[in-house]
């Protein structure tokens, strides 16, 4: 509201200022161009004397220059006198025409401005400076709930709005309302047609609704998603998860390793996939040596780098990016048996021991720090980071890589954020 008042005030001020001279009765006397010419020529004449005195012009040249300027001066002053006498060269507009112009300004200025602003502006959007956003945000949740409420109301009026369902469904999923999400995805599929993302979302919602178990209905949805887009990774993830859940170890192993090799390095599900693969191998009696996070990440990192920007852009538009998100990760973690956790920790401990003996392994350190972070052991991660820094001479490539890596996963960022 305040915004509209300020905008209106600015517009009104602009209109008033511009229209003011137009409303005047009669007009002030203006000098004609010839008057100004006379003045200029006069000062040119004055300067000629100075030029001669300083020797920048010879006396003979100055005389002819005086004659030149004099002729121009005569002509200009003649013209000025004529204009002054007649005063009629001016055919200024009559008052109604001027008033019409004023009215035009008064209509055009606000009309054009508000119309254009309507198309490009976002008047309802408040400023969101950093200081504001860093506050604890009950406000934000309220806002989200409010927004969802508004969207729901709109959809109630117009339930055939497929796009509305499309936007709302993943939000439900993220708000931990899986039943609603499943319903929304079904409606989106019915109204907007079938797509891998929608079926994937549906499956995810059904899985969430069953407390993380990939039900048969969910499996069917994922199968449909894969039928539409055979490269749709989230669906593959859940199907692999299903294999693990049903303890089809051999199937799980192939599915998990296929998923790992196809995933981009920053895929949120990688850690779970690795744990799942390790678990499956253990069941099969193979050496449980599957934690290739570091390797997969570095190798894949180069291959997928150009796509990074696209993902970052996707974050801006709600509903544009639907992969397994935090909720899914959580769901899958629930599935993970306690012994799996113990196994991972055992592996990490082994790695830490090895690094104590051979501290010059950059990739090893990275893997260790990442593992600690994934396990939620921030303190251990910090210690490992400090150890890693000690292991490499300052200014070496290794130290730089470690620093970059730490920055990437957000380890030192915390300290800096609080100190600023």
């Amino acid at each position: 509201m305040v915004f509209w008042i300020v905008a209106a005030a600015m517009t009104a001020a602009a209109i008033l200022a511009i229209v003011w001279p137009l409303l005047r009765r009669g007009q002030a006397e203006v000098d004609t161009a010839a008057d100004h010419d006379v003045e200029v020529y006069l000062s040119q004449l004055r300067e000629l004397d100075g030029d001669v005195a300083r020797g920048t012009m010879a006396e003979a040249e100055a005389a002819s220059a005086r004659a030149e300027v004099g002729r121009r001066l005569l002509r200009a002053s003649e013209k000025a006198r004529r204009e002054a006498l007649t005063d009629g060269t001016r055919r200024s507009f009559r008052r109604p025409a001027v008033l019409a112009a004023a009215a035009g300004v008064a209509v055009l200025l606000p009309g054009l401005s508000f119309a254009l602003y309507e198309t490009v502006g976002a008047p309802a959007l408040p400023d969101q400076p950093l200081a504001f956003r860093q506050q604890p945000k009950p406000q934000d949740d309220f806002d989200l709930a409010g927004l969802v409420g508004k969207a729901e109301a709109r959809l109630k009026e117009n339930p055939k709005d497929g796009n509305g369902w499309d936007v709302l469904a993943p939000i439900y999923l993220r708000m931990n309302r899986p039943e609603d999400a499943a319903e929304a995805f079904r409606k989106a599929i019915a109204l907007n047609g079938e797509s891998a993302a929608r079926f994937g979302g549906l499956g995810e919602a059904l899985t969430d609704a069953a407390s993380g178990e990939v039900t048969d209905a969910a499996k069917a949805a994922f199968a449909k998603a894969l039928a539409i887009n055979p490269a749709y990774l989230p669906a593959k993830f859940f199907l692999a998860l299903d294999a693990s859940q049903e303890q089809r170890a051999a199937d799980a192993e192939t599915r998990w390793s296929a998923l790992i090799s196809e995933s981009p390095p920053d895929a949120p599900w990688l850690k779970i996939a690795e744990a799942g693969l390790a678990d499956a191998r253990q069941r099969l009696g193979k050496p449980a040596a599957a934690t290739a996070v570091g390797d997969a990440a570095t190798v894949g990192g180069e291959a997928a780098a150009p796509g990074g920007a696209a993902v970052a852009e996707g974050e801006g538009s709600p509903g544009g990016f639907e992969g397994p998100d935090a909720a899914t990760v959580a769901a899958a973690s629930q599935m993970a048996a306690g012994d799996r956790q113990a196994m991972i920790e055992g592996m990490v401990a082994q790695l830490a021991a090895r690094l104590k003996q051979h501290p010059d392994d950059v990739e090893g350190w990275k893997r260790l720090i990442r593992s600690y972070t994934v396990l939620g052991k921030t303190d251990e991660a910090q210690t490992a980071l400090a150890d890693a820094r000690k292991a490499f001479p300052e200014a070496s490539a290794g130290a730089r890589e470690i620093a970059a890596f730490a920055a990437e996963i957000g380890l030192p960022g915390k300290e800096e954020a609080t100190s600023r």
């Binding site: 915004f3 300020v6 905008a7 600015m10 602009a14 200022a17 511009i18 001279p21 203006v30 000098d31 161009a33 008057d35 100004h36 010419d37 006379v38 003045e39 200029v40 006069l42 300067e47 300083r54 020797g55 920048t56 012009m57 040249e61 002819s64 220059a65 030149e68 300027v69 004099g70 002053s77 055919r91 200024s92 001027v98 112009a101 300004v105 055009l108 401005s113 254009l116 602003y117 490009v120 502006g121 008047p123 959007l125 408040p126 400023d127 969101q128 950093l130 956003r133 934000d140 974050e315 801006g316 709600p318 300052e394 200014a395 730089r400 620093a403 920055a407 800096e416 954020a417 600023r420």
Partner: protein
């Protein structure tokens, strides 16, 4: 809300600019004072509105409001405060906003300080300014809106390009834009004169101060940019003939020509038509520069993100204004009156000579800059035109001009005495000759070109002082009278001398660096030393150090001469995690006018040593110092009170008969 108020102010300024495009011009046609008056108000108000918009964007940057897409893409909450400010124009959208802010600023200046102009001329000028303003505001709002929002706001921004996180960036673009855009005033005056079909004598008086202002800023802006590239890119070069550098250099060349031809027009009412053409060309080159930088047709350090629609839009603006202006010129120029007569050998003649060479030089730069683009479009071949081309073309064109510089101010108006001028330059010629022989002796007669280069520089330095010296007549009148005569000289005389002297200073720096620069690329480990130009550079230590939004790897060096430590410098590499990018911070030790420059390369595979590039750059600072002196000369000239032409006194109106004729 602040952001949206800024956004609305920008939209409103477009409407105001539209009004300003129409009403004053209409008023000028009919001699209606009321309509003309709206121009003054609209220009001032429009400037205020754009200033509000700019302030709003800056607020968003300073508070890291990432709900503004532009802020999110080009800044980071960890940035130091200063760079949060400068980030505002460190990107395409923000810098375009700065561009129009400055355009509106010049419009407001004309509105406020143009009280002594004939009312119709002023109204026309303001309308033409508004045409330019309108098209660029449309460009911003339709293709590059800095106020585009992002909801919900991301937690962290993507950071400003680290190369641009430097104090140089804080100053370089605003100066450059003040220069570029300042030429719009001369352009608007030229178009107004063409529309009116007559050149007011007052215009002749006005075009030079306005051009001077723009020229001063452009000179400083280019020098600043050059120095920034020198120390920030870590390549040790101060000019790369990069297309974007050329984009600012071409308007400078044309603007310098305009400055000189405007002098003839102001003093002698001659060269009017040529001056109008030059005013159009200068601003056209500024627009061309904007197009080249913004459209993504070329890639360079400065080129902003590419977007075809933007390129097409600016191309349209470019075509409209340049094409329209030239058509108007072709149609109207023949109707304009010619001015005073002069002999070929005269001050006017010398200024024509200056114009001829400067515009030709600008043309060679233009060809070198556009040829690769044209060839790619026509023949599909990709070539690059670099320093060798410009050394071969621009250099030879400038040589005669540089040689002629000292003659100009010594020639009389209308008819000059070349022989007399030459005789008066005996001291300058003598000093140049002495330098020539000195350098030849120093280099053992091997560096003939170098020797001539130094001689030319000293010829200009001494030659430009000659004029003042003779005018004060120290030899004839004794120094006491001489000083009083010197002080009595008009400031513009000092301006000329200073500007030409600055040119000599820059030339001296260029010649010195390009002939006596020492360069050493070597691998060093802490504790090792390297020898360059009589100095010993010791690599003391290297350390990792956290910065505000980067990690620095800083190498400390000490410079010794004869065992005594002269200075300590530090050169570093900065790693910016937000962009995964590294920059080089060169270590520079300034000794007198010379500099020792150290930049770091990559560490060796075993991490024990690092590649170090060391330059000894004799007199390198003179290059930029000369530019500052030139700008100071311009400022002095601007301060000359004779340039201010008062409004006609009302009372004398009826009997405006000349008193002095």
């Amino acid at each position: 809300m602040i952001v949206e108020i800024g956004h609305f102010a920008l939209v409103l300024s477009l409407s105001v600019a539209l009004v300003q495009s129409v009403l004053p011009a209409l008023g000028a046609r009919r001699g209606d004072e009321r309509l003309m008056e709206t121009g003054t108000i609209a220009a001032t108000g429009g400037f205020l509105l754009i200033a509000i918009a700019f302030a709003a964007l800056m607020t968003a940057y300073v508070t890291s409001d990432f709900s503004v897409l532009n802020v999110f893409e080009n800044s980071n909450s960890q940035q130091p405060l200063l760079y949060k400010f400068t980030s505002t124009w460190g990107n395409h959208e923000g810098s375009m906003l700065l561009w129009v802010l400055i355009l509106a600023f010049f419009g407001a200046l004309v509105a406020l300080f143009g009280r002594d102009l004939p009312a119709s001329l002023k109204a026309n000028v303001l309308s033409v300014q508004a045409w330019i303003l309108t098209s660029f505001l449309l460009f911003i709002l339709l293709t590059s809106n800095p106020f585009q929002r992002l909801d919900p706001a991301p937690m962290e921004g993507q950071d400003l390009n680290p190369v641009l996180q430097d104090i140089g960036l804080a100053i370089h673009p605003p100066l450059l834009y003040l220069g570029y855009v300042g030429f719009s005033v001369a352009f608007s005056f030229a178009i107004a004169a063409l529309i009116d079909g007559r050149i007011d004598a007052a215009w002749a008086r006005w075009v030079r101060p306005w051009t001077l202002i723009a020229w001063i800023f452009l000179t400083l802006g280019i020098a600043m940019g050059s120095y920034w590239a020198y120390y920030e890119l870590g390549w040790g070069g101060w000019w790369f003939w990069d297309p974007v550098e050329n984009a600012s250099f071409m308007p400078w060349l044309a603007g310098t020509a305009l400055l000189h031809s405007a002098l003839v027009m102001e003093k002698r009412s001659a060269l009017k038509i040529w001056t109008i053409l030059l005013a159009i060309l200068t601003f056209s080159l500024s627009l061309l520069g904007t197009f080249l930088v913004r459209s993504g047709v070329l890639t360079s350090v400065h080129a902003f993100a590419t977007d075809p629609t933007r390129g097409v839009f600016i191309l349209c603006i470019l075509g409209l204004f340049i094409g329209g202006a030239l058509c108007l010129f072709a149609w109207r120029a023949s109707a304009l009156e010619g001015g005073g007569l002069f002999a070929p050998i005269s001050r006017e003649g010398a200024l024509v000579f200056n114009n001829l060479f400067l515009t030709t030089a600008a043309a060679t730069v233009l060809v070198g800059t556009l040829y690769p683009l044209i060839l790619e479009v026509l023949a599909g071949k990709k070539i690059s035109v670099g320093a060798p081309f410009f050394d071969l073309t621009f250099g030879p064109v400038m040589l005669p001009l540089l040689f002629a510089v000292p003659f100009g101010p010594l020639l009389g108006w209308k008819r000059g005495d070349l022989l007399g001028a030459a005789q008066r330059l005996y001291f300058a010629a003598g000093s140049a000759l002495a330098v020539l022989i000195g350098v030849l002796a120093y280099t053992g007669g091997t560096r003939i070109l170098t020797a001539f280069g130094f001689a030319l520089a000293f010829w200009i330095l001494a030659g430009s002082l000659t004029d003042l010296f003779l005018r004060a007549a120290f030899l004839r009148a004794g120094w006491r009278t001489g000083v009083s005569r010197l002080l009595g000289l008009p400031r513009s005389a000092f301006g000329t001398t200073l500007a030409h002297f600055g040119l000599g200073v820059t030339l001296l720096g260029i010649v010195s660096v390009s002939s006596f620069q020492g360069e050493l690329i070597t691998t060093m480990a802490p504790g090792q030393t390297a020898e360059i130009a009589g100095y010993t550079l010791a690599f003391d230590r290297i350390e990792q150090r956290p910065g505000s939004n980067f990690e620095a790897q800083a190498a400390a060096f000490s410079i010794r001469r004869g065992g005594v430590v002269e200075a300590n410098i530090e050169s570093s590499k900065r790693f910016f995690p937000a962009r995964q990018m590294t920059t080089t911070e060169s270590g520079i030790w300034t000794h007198g006018f010379s500099q020792l420059y150290v930049s770091l390369g990559d560490p060796s595979p075993d991490n024990r040593s690092i590649v170090v590039r060391i330059w000894w750059k004799p007199l390198v600072t003179l290059i930029w110092l000369g530019a500052v002196v030139m700008a100071a000369g311009g400022l002095l000239s601007l301060a000359d009170r004779r340039l201010r032409v008062g409004a006609p006194a009302r009372r004398s109106r009826a009997q405006a008969a000349p008193a002095g004729a």
